[in-house]
């Protein structure tokens, strides 16, 4: 239970920190980079290293590469849904979620 509490606090802290940095940097196109900051990764992998060691973190870092490729595809689809299909941000980000799942698990299945 305490492990999950630490995860929650660390994750909230890192995500809030990167969000605030994203809010205050200009121009907006640069601020968008912080939408894909490794905030959850820093919190999760830090705990994983302490609990399971370097090899476990290596496995997670490898899988994170596939997740990040999926995130790039997802972001491009969201952009298109916003500008071409004229969906709102919440709708576009939710509708595109299967793209992330599909690409991430496809890479995971193929590359391991």
């Amino acid at each position: 239970m305490s492990e999950y509490l630490i995860r929650f606090l660390l994750g909230g802290l890192f995500v809030s920190l990167f969000s605030i940095i994203g809010d205050i940097v200009r121009p907006k196109s640069f601020a968008g980079l912080f939408g894909a900051a490794p905030s959850v990764a820093l919190a999760t992998l830090g705990i994983a290293w302490a609990e399971h060691g370097a090899s476990y973190v290596g496995v997670q870092a490898t899988a994170m590469i596939w997740g990040a490729i999926a995130l790039a595809c997802y972001s491009i689809v969201v952009c298109q849904l916003l500008m071409r299909a004229q969906l709102g941000a919440l709708a576009a980000t939710l509708v595109a979620m299967p793209v992330w799942l599909l690409v991430a698990f496809e890479f995971h299945a193929v590359a391991g």
Binding site: V15, I20, V57
Partner: protein, 149 residues
Amino acid sequence: MQIGLSTSPLANSRWYEYVIRFVLGGAVTVFTGMISSEFGAAVGGLFLALPAIFCASATLIERHEIRRKREAGGEGARRGRGAAALDATGAALGSVAMIAFAVVLLVTTSWGAAAAFACASLAWVVMAVAMWVLRWIVKREIRRARARR
């Protein structure tokens, strides 16, 4: 092309927006831990790049722009979508930097936790800035080519 800081967006934000981000960030981190425990490190690793926080941030950015435009007497939906799309473009570039973070972390795990995380974070910053500058150069060249035609 100048990168700067402006604290005015902090004043425009509502307190509950910070709470939402904190809770969402915490929840996603707990969720990722649970996925790793249940399905193994590799599947859990995929979820380190889950765009759950991006959903919240894009929605908040859209709301801010709509609110700002309405206060100025406009409608704001189009401007809100434009701002969220710009955020999505940034996230696409940022995800390339995230790949750099993961690759450098993977390569430097033998150096110890502090050095590996420091190198990976530095790789993220360098790649993020490089991607943004590259995008700026490409856009500038396209504009010049169009102007020449």
